[in-house]
């Protein structure tokens, strides 16, 4: 009996040590050009004072997984530390000719397209490792696209807690209600990652979802 109590005690200690060591991973997912890297930069700037990746108007700017370790965010006296993972935009088509419109040479456009296809595959592969996902959607675009539904459907199938960040709400044509209506099962927060609008609500929602994730991991 005494031996069992001692064994259980040490087991609990070791379990907790490893639970602390395993970083909580938060992934940013979404189609190209929705502002995933802009949001990653906003989070990094808000909490560690530095940016994570380069942003541009040309689709598929992020073609590799970008990771920032040990970001600690604080809310109502509590803090949570996590690893932030910014992923390339998920698409069903990549045409190098689309990049030519942005002034890229044919060789640069072809290289970008090739890297972008690999980036999509990488993003999909990483999904299994995520503890929480923030799906970043462009609030000015139709939310009912199959890419959005596939991303959200796969996160839901893996029972990974998720938040929808409806980005670009600073733009006049943004329709937050359309995104909320398309995915009523999930919490949607309207933000402007570029201008830092409504980030307080975003962090509060993130905190709540991380709590759910911790329960799931136990």
């Amino acid at each position: 009996m005494v031996i069992r109590i001692i064994t259980n005690f040490f087991q609990r200690i070791f379990t907790n040590i490893f639970a602390i060591k395993k970083d909580l991973k938060i992934g940013l997912y979404g189609p190209p050009n929705t502002g995933k890297t802009t949001l990653a930069n906003r989070i990094c700037k808000d909490w560690i004072g530095e940016e994570l990746g380069k942003v541009s108007n040309i689709p598929h700017e992020t073609r590799e997984i970008l990771i920032k370790d040990s970001i600690t965010i604080k809310h109502k006296g509590k803090s949570i530390t996590f690893k932030l993972i910014d992923t390339p935009g998920i698409a069903t088509k990549i045409d190098y000719e689309d990049f030519l419109k942005y002034g890229l040479s044919k060789a640069e456009a072809k290289k970008r397209a090739k890297e972008a296809t690999k980036g999509v595959i990488e993003a999909i592969k990483w999904l299994n490792d995520m503890d929480v996902v923030v799906v970043v959607l462009d609030a000015t675009q139709n939310p009912y696209t199959q890419v959005n539904i596939t991303i959200i459907g796969n996160i839901a199938a893996r029972k990974i807690p998720l938040i929808i960040a409806a980005n670009k709400i600073d733009l006049k044509r943004a329709k937050l209600k359309a995104i909320e209506g398309a995915f009523p099962e999930y919490q949607t927060v309207g933000i402007s990652a570029k201008h830092g609008t409504n980030m307080e609500e975003f962090y509060e929602t993130l905190f709540n979802v991380i709590k759910q994730s911790k329960k799931r991991r136990k």
Binding site: T92, K93, D95, V120, I121, I124, T145, I149, A156, P184
Partner: protein, 123 residues
């Protein structure tokens, strides 16, 4: 002679007996040079595999696919959606319609909760 655009309709029964791997392979084989309309829809995992396989095939002459699904589930309230999800799990989702085609000749598929509109490229 002018080359036309081929549209193929695939009934639910044709895909129902296939494994997920075969289903994705079958769709990608068929979608290279024609528009495919499927009765029903793929599972999220299959859609993910379809995107992955599409990315691997992008290169000379293949730019990827356009895919949209008209799903009556999206035209319902949350309780009806949940009921439908359970029914779909049990018997398969054959109420939906999936429209897939090569990105090289589909300009756009416009979608809202009630309809799909297909816009083709004519060079």
């Amino acid at each position: 002679m002018k080359k036309g655009i081929k549209i193929q309709f695939i009934p639910f029964s044709q895909l129902a007996g296939m494994s997920s791997y075969k289903r994705v392979k079958f769709i990608l084989e068929n979608v290279k040079d024609k528009i495919v309309i499927i009765q029903g829809k793929l599972k999220p995992e299959e859609e993910k595999d379809l995107i992955e396989e599409t990315m691997k095939k992008i290169g000379k002459g293949f730019k990827g696919i356009e895919i949209e699904v008209l799903n009556p589930k999206f035209d319902q309230n949350i309780i009806a959606r949940l009921k439908k999800s359970v029914a779909d799990f049990l018997v398969g989702d054959r109420d939906a319609i999936t429209l897939i085609g090569p990105a090289s000749f589909i300009k756009e598929i416009k979608k809202d909760i009630k309809k799909l509109e297909l816009f083709l490229k004519f060079k």
